[in-house]
Amino acid sequence: MDPAWFLLLLPLLAAAVIILFTRKWKTLSSAISVGSAAAAFLISLSLLGSDDEKILHFRWMEIGDLRIDIGILLDGLSRSMLFTVTTVGLLIHIYSLGYMKNDEGKSRYFAGLSLFMFSMTGIVLAENFIMMFIFWELVGASSYILIGHWFTRNPPVEAAKKAFITNRIGDFGFLVGILLIWSLTGSLAFSGIEEGLPAAAAYPSALGVAVLCLFCGAVGKSAQLPLHVWLPDAMEGPTPVSALIHAATMVAAGVYMLARIGFLLAAAPSAVLIAWIGALTALFAAVVATQQDDIKRILAYSTLSQLGYMIMAAGLLATQAAMFHLFTHAFFKALLFLGAGAVIHACRHEQNIWKMGGLRKTMPLTFVTFAIGTAALAAVPYVTSGFFSKEYILDAAWSQENRALFWIAALVAFLTPFYMTRLLLVAFFGRPRSRPVEQAREVPLVMALPLLLLAVPSIAIAWFSGLLDWIQIPRPEHHTTHPMVLTVSILALLGGAGLAFLFYRERDSEPFRAGPIADKFYFDELYDGLVRHVQGGLASLSAFLDRSVIDGIAVKGIGRIAAGTGYLLRLIQVGNIQAYAFLFGMGVVLTIFLLLAL
């Protein structure tokens, strides 16, 4: 058996063992889970370094000439993604040991994490669309479990439900896309689709629609407009979960999927639409992030924004740039989330940045790592990995002569340092603005270690091209970057950070409040209204029709007519012999008349 199978199955095994047997022994459960994550990490390391393409099959179903496999596709893309997922995953498993130390549902939590690891590896390894869809959905389910981990409180539960259903909406499009692509190319496997593509290219509009449908999956999973609403809410889950799932890996699955089908995007005329959606999401999320007060929500919107970048890159057919940004983003965003988690943990679950302040002193390690993450996110030139990947994307937009997209991206590049600086200034500088924050202490080693480990690649990883090649991450060539791009991005960074510095230095409260932005442009309200009035109204209407028309008029009506006719007809039997004789005579006359008449 190929070690890749173990990589896929070990986390599942861990989840199963925890659920079935070790739920009562929490420490054992967490150990099993962390062990499986470590094993997965090691296996994924062992897979690196070879660049041959390998496909493994396991017959899942076979009907006639259609065979659906659980298959493993090992190529550069999947190997590098695997590395990202298992590395971040392992670190977050370790971090969780500390963060969830005294949690009642620790076993459940780790089972969920393992299940997630299983699902995520499944997406990465998927060799065909069906398998990808299977794990796509499983990822959604494990996300549901993990967001709703604290299920006795209402907000996480609602958030979990929202996340799952929103994802399902995206998956609707994804599945329709799969069906369309299948009917166009005659295959479900990526290799087969690529083979069938030339024939399918004869129908560009069909292909375009199909690709857009597939993209719907990414819209759901990567929380693009208009299905982005679940991601900020998902921050109700435990912070490590936010770091792992809602920042580093799962939400990037959409991007990964687009990268996987890059050849399709190239053939479809609708790819630019994808780029636009990505760009708009990036801009929208960045704008909203500037007015959020919850530390995790700010990061969540920033994730949205960065995902928008990646999607835009994928839409611009720069899948390598998208993947590279995915890679770097996974590390620094996980770092940021874990840092935020540390802060929250230390501040007894206080998440409002305006109630924090001064943490720089009480939590120096956290501060430093958080600052590194911020720098990476803000793309401090040449120092951080974020800079290289963002440059790569901006460059792609510029070089494709798509100026509108470029300027939007540039605007986002301006907003990103703005809101991150705001966050940093408000939370870590100044003075503590609430009692728990005053008493905050630095986090234990088990939580600090992942922070440190993540800080390293956030800064350094782009420097080591050899390492990148080994991981098989596509790497930008610096010298090709257009000077204009470089200039704009540096100006944006300086402008954004400077402006934030001006506004938020030594502030105790929000200096100015833009309602629509703070309220996320009322998307939630809009959707709530849609759900309540349109869906609820339709449901009530259907129920009413079901009761009154189908059951009431049709079914009961027929019954009543039959019974009523019976009631009336039997009145013939009046009981009087005279009448009976008359009726009998009538009967005879009628019978003879009928016989004569017919």
């Binding site: 499983l138 209402n154 069906l179 069909a206 609820g536 449901a539």
Partner: protein
Amino acid sequence: MSILDFIIFLPLAAAIAIGFGLPARRTALAAAGLNLLLGFIALARFGNHDPASGPAFAASRTVSQNPEIAWAVGLDGMSLVLLLLTVLVTFAALWQAATPKDNVRLFYISLLLISAGSLGAFLTTDLFFLYAFHELALIPTFLLIGIFGKGDRRAAAWKITIYLAAGSLVLLAGLLLLVISLGQGGVLTFDLAALAQRAAAQPIGASSQSLIYLLLLIGFGTLVSLFPLHSWAAPAYASAPTPAVMLHAGVLKKFGLYGLLRLSPLLPAGAERWLSLLLILLLGNILFVGLVTLSQKRLDSMLAHSSVMHMGYIFLGIAAFQPGHTLGATGAVLLMFAHGLSIALLFALAGRLEDKLGTLDMTKLGGLGKITPRFAFLFGLAAFASIGLPGFANFTGEILVFLGGFQSHEPGAPLGGLQIATILAVWGVVISAVYMLRAYRAIFLGELTESNATASLTDLTLSQKLPAGLLAAGLLAIGIYPWFLQRFLQF
């Protein structure tokens, strides 16, 4: 005697034995357990069977020469799957059954008869007995709901009985017309294989096919609660005692789909003629009933509606079933199996819940997951299974059905009715996620409501977990490794 005869007559014999005074519960359980075993023996021995040589374990005994009717049994892939479904659900339902205070014998006899009826219908290869055995279950259902039901049990029992009886009369007309149309040389036959041969050699005229298929569609459709012939289902399922609804919704209702799948290859022109109608009706199931499901306030009623809704997917598989395009049919059979197990599981758990709490009103429940985690876990499994989460058998069925909808689609051609219906049906998956998660959230998650906090709710014991675990295991097994059963499904 074939092993299949034993499987069919074992519950009947047990029912008679209970009638003559054997201890009711133990006899019933023993019969169900033995049948479960026999079912798996049949599965094991079926593995070596060559599908080209006709059904396995075939045996036949003529009961009427002209029209040619025979008590004939035989097992092919489709009936094997349904056999497994039946023995699994029967065992779980009987185990799960809470013995009533009164009429104990009647209770278990009725349950066994439903099981025997389903087994007979699925295992016979004679059209007459296929029809007859299904109807055998009508009376037990009437008694079970009417005597042991809850809520508005009488109205519900009354409705299901009359409705299904009426539907099966339409069905009978269709079946007879089919048999008559395929009469040859002065001999009418009810043997399915012979009918198929005759239909292949000399297809029925298009107009006759059209009439027959319509009758079959209405007849079978009523039995399967095809929109708009579905209004019997929800009240009956909401009122029926738990094991009865497990058997009925889980197993018996599959009969109509099974019959349609068996017979529609004989009527290709008819199927084509009414395809659009079927598509509209099944969308009625998925979308309209789906919306109705959304507005349900009681768990049992919601589950009942959801069961109606899910029939739409199976119908979609049947609609997609054309010669050479068998994905839909395969998916439909897998989905029958999956839906049977998952709805039985859901009803089993809902029944337990009501026993303990006395209500299934979702607005009054909440936060039970804290008190009964195992229960919540099992229910969650069932809920996720029923909304078609991968890893559960339901997903394998659904995905095949959806693929089936596109199997006949030519690349680049405009989307046909079937494809559009498939796309709309995929949207139904979203609807079912909404109501299922909403229900799960209302009952198990969130803050514990006061009324529940005081209720004497205890978590499942091992013995109570067994039937549910059995069903869940079945769902997972086929969800993870569908080839295990799917390889037997040859159309």
